[in-house]
């Protein structure tokens, strides 16, 4: 036990500044090219903040659906997610449960979490986690289920260990629950139950379920971001693995590249 209480284990992750951030104009060029979907999408993620500041909700919704490339659609959807934070609970739920394009519904998933974890009921036997789990299984849309699943694991995180989540990321009552379990699990792999990069790569590629691959991919992205690899390194890798490995493995590089691009 240190006595001073003044030293803390600082895990600094601000490595972005070590790399050149790609200008918006260049990103617009990259995002318009769909040769490598992950590179296009990475540029889209990096552009989201700019789009959220400069485009209307209607413009973004149109772009999210009709954008010519996955990068443009991703940029619009991610930008909508930022704008949707200002929406009311009712407005968010209408989007999540409605018939809008999945790219639009996807934008409502994260903004929904604050509302979902705050649901209350007069019913004496009401259980928030039971309520969320039920929606995660029986929700009207994939995005509604996913939001509820994420909220469910957010609320349950304190009572679950990595070994619990490793089971639930494989076998669960819905794909969305397994996916959300994998997301939470990735945080354990970066803190209480650390894994090596090789282990995470293996998991992201060959994990036995989407949930486990997501766990590996999400944690792997952090290691990639914290590495010395450059924008060019990530682009080269994505080029070389295009259409191979697994979507989750490629997603790790996509996220890391988006950070290098300056998201």
């Amino acid at each position: 036990m240190k006595l001073t209480g003044l030293r803390a284990l600082v895990v600094v992750t601000c490595v972005v500044a070590l790399f050149s951030i790609v200008a918006v104009a260049s990103l617009e060029t990259i995002v318009s090219d769909e040769l490598i979907p992950e590179i296009s999408a990475a540029a889209g993620i990096a552009l989201a903040g700019s789009y959220a500041d400069t485009m209307t909700e209607a413009e973004l919704e149109a772009l999210a659906v009709n954008g010519r490339t996955i990068g443009l659609r991703t940029a619009a959807s991610e930008a909508l997610a930022i704008q949707y934070r200002a929406k009311t609970e009712e407005e968010i739920m209408v989007i999540l449960k409605g018939t809008a394009d999945p790219m639009i519904r996807a934008a409502a998933v994260e903004p929904a979490l604050i509302y979902l974890i705050s649901v209350t009921s007069e019913a004496e036997d009401f259980s928030l986690t039971d309520y969320l789990k039920d929606i995660a299984i029986n929700g009207e849309t994939h995005e509604m289920k996913l939001a509820a699943a994420k909220a469910y694991y957010f609320m349950m995180r304190g009572s679950l260990k990595a070994e619990d989540l490793e089971v639930q990321a494989v076998t669960n009552d819905s794909d969305e629950l397994a996916y959300a379990a994998g997301e939470i699990l990735s945080g354990f792999y970066l803190s209480f139950n650390p894994k090596t990069q090789a282990e995470l790569e293996e998991l992201a590629i060959n994990g036995e379920s989407v949930g486990m691959r997501v766990a590996g991919s999400t944690a792997l992205a952090t290691l990639l971001i914290n590495s010395d690899l450059t924008t060019l390194d990530f682009e080269t890798t994505l080029l070389s693995i295009a259409g191979t490995k697994s979507a989750e493995y490629r997603a790790a590089y996509k996220v890391a590249l988006a950070v290098r691009y300056g998201s």
Partner: protein, 611 residues
Amino acid sequence: MKKLVLVMAALLVVFSASAIVMAQGYDAQPADAKIIPLGEEGTAYENQEPGVQGGTMYVAAISDPKKWNYVTSHETSTTQYCFLMLRGLVDSNPVTSALEPELAKSWDISEDNLVITFHLREGLKWSDGEPFTADDVVFSFNDLYYNEDVETDTRDILVLPDDTYPVVAKVDDYTVTVTLSMIFRPILSSIGAPILPKHALAQYVHKLNPDVPVGTFNSSWGLDTDPAELVGMGPFMVESYAPDQHVTLVRNPYYYHYDAQGTQLPYFDKYVVLTVASQDVSLLKFRNGELDALGIRATDVPILKREEAVKNMTVLVDPDVANYGTSWIGINQDIGLAEGTYENLRALYRTRDFRAAMSNLVDKQAMIDTLYNGLAVPQWSPVSYLSPFYAGRDYYGGPVTETDAVVFEYSLDKAAALLDGIGIIDRDGDGWRDYEDGTRVEMELNTNAGNTVREGVSLIVADRASKIGLKLNFVPVDFNTLVNKLFASTGEMIVLGLTGGNEPNSGANVYSSGGGLHFWHYSAADEPNELEKKIDGLLDAAVGTLDNDEAFEIYKEYQITLANDDLGLVYTVNPAFTYAFSNKVGNANISSPVATPSGNNGLTMDLCFFK
């Protein structure tokens, strides 16, 4: 948290009212400005950097303030704002926690250690442009803190063992003496209590303004006060307050801290505290980038670690450094005393073996595992784990060995045996224990709603109690409601926390029998029992020596007596230091158990800036 070694302990809440007309500010940097040498080698601030002015820092709290009046406050939901608006003669360095000059630029101590002469910084002004002088210092102590008409806990940490107070006297406009009737080791930290503006507040003090009724000051600077009327010497002043929404503070143009480059602090233009429903909502808002810094829980670590790199934030985790402060279950031995009700429960609570049984019911390991992901340590002492006086050490400032720790192991059998021994048994076969008269033993367990860790602690305790037939009904309530229950002595059993610091005497307002926060047994102020008399004596003895080693031994006995015999508070666990901030915030790396950018001791908010 308590303003560390400076002032009284305050009730801990993990966070949580018109435009202000500001004066112009200084024409030039005052000659006596306090210079913060950010980034200068060889100084405490060598790992920080000079910043730039501008921007609005956002943090969150789960409770609104109760008032703006520091003097009469008891809770961090209030003091967190007071510490941003006010300053004392001395303060803690946010990096080293050592005491250093604040409103006083220096001090001299007489050879007999009974007279301290404070030399005040000259040319400073209050936030409204009025000059700061020795009159404000004398007013703060003689007319506020020592004034029996004023309700304040600060008196509890200023009173000397012979029941006198340090005599504060003006020598000239910028010199003040503090004279003691006897040695009082923690005088420098105690005398660091915030200084209040005489020109703004004297009108509310009956002894200075007989036109107002006695006690008028106690309701001054309430939440209904126009923020423009609040005056301070701290880095920020309240600009607006919207209940359940936010408190917005704006830079004090007359703040007297400057960096070495001559830039006036604070760097931020505004500091906004959003009121949120729960810690979980705070976490989601931080993830969204709506907050710039956040005190996190161990269970938040996996959530944030996976986004740390992507969202350009820093997550600090130090499993070896426990936070200051204490977490406990308070058992109100005065429940129903004033009303002549709850006779059975009060008698039970006053039975030491019942409180010992409650100690055996605290499943600390389950709390550590499930609520803290292992990032916590069992707690048993009223003194902070980090304090050099912590009795888990073998000597003053030594390593923590826990050789003399008072341990009540988690044991349902032992708890049941203790209850059996005092006649609390199941008399009607319904599975619940009853009093001798056959009525069921049933009690309400409260904590502040929205604090999910305390809610978890409460649920674990209630669950374990149910396993031996003891019925605890868990009811979370609003923080300020909870505080009111404490002070009205209407809470039966409460899970809550107290701030902490290095100097145990700063908890005298809690642990002395007459302390303003002796909320589990307020009647002890009039009729202390033998144990409480002993604790009072130990507190007095520990401040009466200048020898830290001697004080350590006295405080060790004090801690063991409270933990093993008094048991008014049953301690739970002490979390490790965990914190998160956006990497766009400069100097946030100063974060430690001593001070954080969103903490409630006001020590670092003036140093942070947006990169």
